[in-house]
């Protein structure tokens, strides 16, 4: 089992609903976020292109954050989701420095926090909060080891890219282009 997410940049309007839904679902303190929006513009008026991406932890299969964690707080969990065990985390920040996607932040309560793919929901068979709320349905979540899953089907059908592949982290976020 390998959980992954595909983000359809053709549909995403960058509304930040994923950000707000994550904040309320996971009680992320205001001023911090586990997911965010990136807007990339190219060209000169009126020959313009824009890509909008909803980004979060890439849940890498070869995660530098897991490798560098001195206390094993950062670890691979259910379906390959990278999680932080709060009580084991000493807040040293090595993982924050190691992440090529800048996906982690120091929680004011002293541990490092990031996207969990809403593992508490996923274990109950529910999609992550961001996926459930997205008004444009541009987020697909599922098991890429299961060739019949919606995400596997989408990845078969559509062109996609992954971010910073050269970092060699084997990320599990796919951006449909």
């Amino acid at each position: 089992m390998r959980f992954a997410m595909a983000i359809d940049t053709k549909k995403c309007v960058g509304c930040s609903d994923c950000v707000v839904a994550c904040q309320t679902e996971n009680a992320v303190p205001i001023g911090y976020c586990r997911d965010w929006i990136v807007e990339v513009n190219d060209g000169t008026y009126p020959q313009l292109e824009m890509e909008i991406r909803s980004e979060r932890c890439n849940q890498c299969s070869n995660s530098p954050c897991v490798r560098c964690c001195p206390t094993t707080a950062s670890h691979y969990d259910y379906g390959g989701i990278v999680l932080v065990t709060k009580h084991k985390c000493i807040g040293c920040g090595a993982c924050i420095a190691s992440c090529p996607y800048d996906a982690r932040y120091p929680h004011p309560k002293g541990y490092v926090d990031k996207c969990t793919f809403c593992v508490h929901r996923v274990k109950e068979g529910l999609p992550p909060a961001c996926v459930a709320v997205c008004p444009t349905k541009c987020l697909y979540f599922g098991d890429t080891d299961d060739s019949r899953s919606e995400i596997s089907q989408v990845l078969k059908k559509r062109k996609y890219k992954r971010l910073i592949p050269e970092a060699g982290t084997n990320p599990n976020l796919y951006f449909l282009i």
Binding site: K10, K11, V13, G14, C15, S16, D17, V19, V20, A21, Q23, T24, E25, A27, P29, I30, G31, Y32, C33, N41, G43, T44, Y45, P46, L48, E49, M50, I52, P108, H120, R121, K123, E124, G125, L126, A132, V133, C134, P135, T136, K137, C138
Partner: protein, 748 residues
């Protein structure tokens, strides 16, 4: 000020207060799945979800309010059965929790003690506040007549206040949603098809093959159903054509983006009409059977070629032809979207008419993929005595101005409150609910001039706003999460109603509007118009007569009904009918002609920006609704301020740098109070600047929003009034940059 800390403290205290009322419920603890889905079976459990519909914007999506382990409000999730949201709220609806937790909320009734506009108030009891209002209304009613009091309202709470006003004897009940927003298109579609569009608009984006957006930035305005259906349309490969001087979000997702010169939209619409008629691309059968005036239109449209429009719009004639062809190919599954905020240049009814005509030519009205035929559920009235006759109605007060206005105009109420503007009439009092007129109405200075003249200004709101600073009495309303309201009932594909009930007790000394209206009525001797004890009783009376009950609605939140008006589109079962004088679609409007207006839309050149000035364009963003959410802790974290969009060429001329703070000054010398940061972007034309509406709050009681960004309302001093229906065109203002504070007095 550390927001993070505050929220932690606030939630703890709210939880503590609530445990007493909610309780832990009986029986075994619910499972994780039950908690997450809110489908908790144990009655009275602290995890039980409660139904609501959103009050953050007018789309009013139905949802469920969830509680956390402490029994306090945790999150709001869309109701899957609701066609307004299909289980997916927008960021504002999701962030609606912030409205409840905002520590800057109005907390107690207040009566002004200092001069108007100085925020010097004394805390009073509800009894004292309502007594004051009742006595003052009685005084004004006796001295000037009750018709001199106006209600200006936005949102669900206004319904019961409307009952109160009618019982009192005034029908000057206005929403800025009409003459500052969608009024012109309602009139234009009414004149053409015999029916306005209402809300939600019956655009069948779900099944369309071509969606044309003219200045409508769907996806930045989160009109939820439409955004969702647009995303589905993208999946289906439908064509999107976007006309906008700004490379809007949807422009980036469109097959065609037409970067039009601002204010020239009618020229483009006429050219499209020309191409479609001269090539015979219109729906001949539909036009022949259902329309009148085609021959006159055909003759009139001849000179308006794409080449003619090129000189005006700067759009390549081939692009105009290609897009017309695209629309014709999709016909009748094509939507020339009527837009929503359409009060731009003062000829807005005519522009909306041009849009209506184009839709008629392509046969999209009443057709799959065009405009569906919506249906509304009839909700029975709770019995009350007949309303007294109004001595002078809003229509009489307007006289022969704006003959096609169908609803009272908020701007006419502002004008009519300034002595000398109307013959023999002056408004003396306003009750303002959920509408921050200082920022909602163009030309803040004029609004303030009117307010100074009033003998009574009552403001009912949840938050301190600019308007509350000028109030004589402030009545603090509880948020939608803490109250019952009237049933939501809007036009839709199928009739559907939604319930809002309190998820928790009102915080602070705040009250729902229904309570305010009922108590005020009692004090004014009008209690018999509110002849029910509790709001439960009021709702249950109606629901029982609609095959439901309050008990059922509390469980389901949303109830759909079978259509009774026939098919969703024109068919043998639902034959085309048009409520116009001719009984047909009026391409040529004899009604407009008889009233002395152009029977066919005409392009008139609008004023251009002077040297060194740029047209002020404004719009919406996904995470805010007007000026009412700027202080919401969750939403202000997403977008705390607006930025001034400037084209790189313009920035180079002015030597502006990314993020530099500037003040904007308009052609009349009006300037923004606070600096706003420059965003240098190719996404805006060199002849315009763009800001998101609703920022630049001047009330220091808004701890997050005060002094953040630029207020477009302050810069819209030139208002282009639509003579047809009185809408306030707001896009005829030009601004320049000031790199130093124009007013040293104001601190940001």
């Amino acid at each position: 000020m550390n927001r993070r800390n505050f929220i932690r403290i606030s939630t703890l205290s709210a939880g503590g207060a609530m445990l007493g009322t909610i309780g832990f419920g009986g029986g075994k603890e619910p499972s994780m799945l039950e908690r997450l889905t809110g489908k908790v079976h144990a009655e009275g459990s602290r995890y039980q979800r409660t139904p609501t519909y959103c009050e953050i914007c007018f789309w009013k999506c139905a949802g469920w309010v969830y509680k956390n382990d402490q029994g306090e409000i945790w999150k709001i999730i869309g109701n899957e059965n609701d066609p307004h949201c299909n289980g997916r709220l927008c960021p504002r609806g999701t962030g609606g929790v912030g409205m409840y937790f905002d520590q800057d909320r109005l907390k107690t009734p207040l009566i002004r003690t200092g001069p108007k506009g100085k925020q010097e108030f004394k805390r009073v009891s509800w009894d004292e506040a309502l007594d004051f209002v009742a006595k003052k209304l009685d005084f004004i009613g006796k001295k000037y007549g009750p018709e001199t009091v106006a209600l200006i309202t936005h949102g669900s709470g206004g319904k019961l206040l409307t009952t109160l006003m009618k019982a009192y004897g005034s029908d000057s009940i206005a929403g800025p949603s009409y003459a500052q927003c969608k009024g012109p298109r309602e009139v234009a579609f009414g004149l053409t098809f015999g029916a306005g569009l209402e809300s939600p608009e019956p655009t069948d984006i779900r099944d369309t093959r071509c969606l044309v957006l003219i200045g409508s930035h769907l996806g930045e305005n989160m009109h939820n159903t439409q955004v969702q259906e647009m995303a589905d349309a993208i999946d289906r490969g439908a064509t999107i054509i976007t006309v906008d001087p700004r490379f809007s979000t949807v422009a980036s997702k469109s097959k065609f983006w037409l970067p039009i010169k601002p204010s020239t939209d009618i020229a483009l619409l006429l050219a499209w009409t020309n191409v479609i008629i001269s090539n015979g691309w219109y729906d001949r059968d539909y036009v022949e059977k259902y329309t009148t005036g085609f021959d006159k239109l055909k003759e009139y449209i001849q000179p308006f070629t794409p080449e003619w429009a090129y000189g005006i719009t700067t759009l390549n004639p081939n692009m105009i032809r290609d897009t017309a062809k695209e629309m014709a190919n999709a016909s009748p599954a094509v939507i020339i979207h009527p837009g929503r905020h359409v009060t731009w240049y003062g000829d807005d009814t005519q522009r909306s008419r041009a849009i209506a005509i184009l839709n008629a030519l392509l046969g999209s009205w009443g057709r799959r993929g065009g405009f569906y035929l919506p249906e509304l559920k009839e909700i029975p009235e709770y019995p009350h005595p007949p309303f007294p006759p109004v001595k002078k109605s809003w229509r009489d007060i307007l006289g022969d101005q704006y003959p096609f206005a169908e609803l009272p105009l908020a701007n006419a109420i502002v004008d009519g409150s300034i002595p000398g503007n109307l013959k023999d009439f002056q408004y003396r009092g306003w009750i303002v609910n959920g509408s921050n007129l200082n920022m909602t109405m163009p030309d803040t200075r004029k609004t303030l001039e009117a307010i100074q003249q009033l003998e009574l200004l009552v403001v009912i709101d949840t938050m301190p706003m600019e308007i509350t600073g000028w109030a004589d009495v402030i009545l603090p309303e509880c948020t939608y999460l803490e109250r019952y309201d009237v049933l939501r009932n809007d036009h839709n594909r199928e009739p559907v109603i939604a319930l809002r009930m309190p998820a928790t007790e009102p915080k602070y000394d705040t009250k729902p509007d229904w309570w305010i209206a009922k108590e005020l009525a009692a004090k004014m001797g009008l209690g018999n118009y509110f002849d029910w004890k509790t709001f439960d009783e009021f709702l249950d009376y109606k629901l029982k007569r609609m095959g439901s009950s309050l008990e059922e609605m509390k469980k389901i939140g949303v109830k759909k009904y079978e259509r009774t008006s026939g098919d969703l589109y024109f068919s043998a079962d639902n034959p085309p009918a048009f409520d116009t004088p001719s009984g047909k679609i009026e391409l040529y409007s004899t009604q407009l002609e008889q009233a002395g207006f152009d029977p066919l839309p005409r392009y008139t050149p609008h004023e251009e920006p002077p040297e060194g000035y740029y047209r002020l364009n404004y719009g919406r963003t996904q995470s805010h609704t007007f000026s009412r959410t700027s202080n919401n802790p969750n939403l202000s974290a997403i977008m705390p301020e607006n930025l001034v969009w400037v084209n790189p060429k313009v920035a180079a001329n002015w030597q502006l740098k990314e993020g530099q703070e500037v003040w904007l000054k308009n052609q009349d010398g009006a300037a923004t109070n606070f600096p706003a940061k420059v965003r240098i972007t190719e996404r805006i034309r060199w002849d315009s600047v763009y800001i998101v509406h609703g920022f630049g709050h001047t009330n220091p009681l808004l701890s997050r929003a005060f002094g953040k960004g630029a207020s477009d309302s302050a810069l819209i001093t030139k208002v282009l009034i639509d003579p047809v229906m009185g809408g306030t065109g707001m896009r005829g203002n030009f601004v320049t940059f000031l790199t130093e504070n124009p007013d040293k007095e104001v601190k940001a």
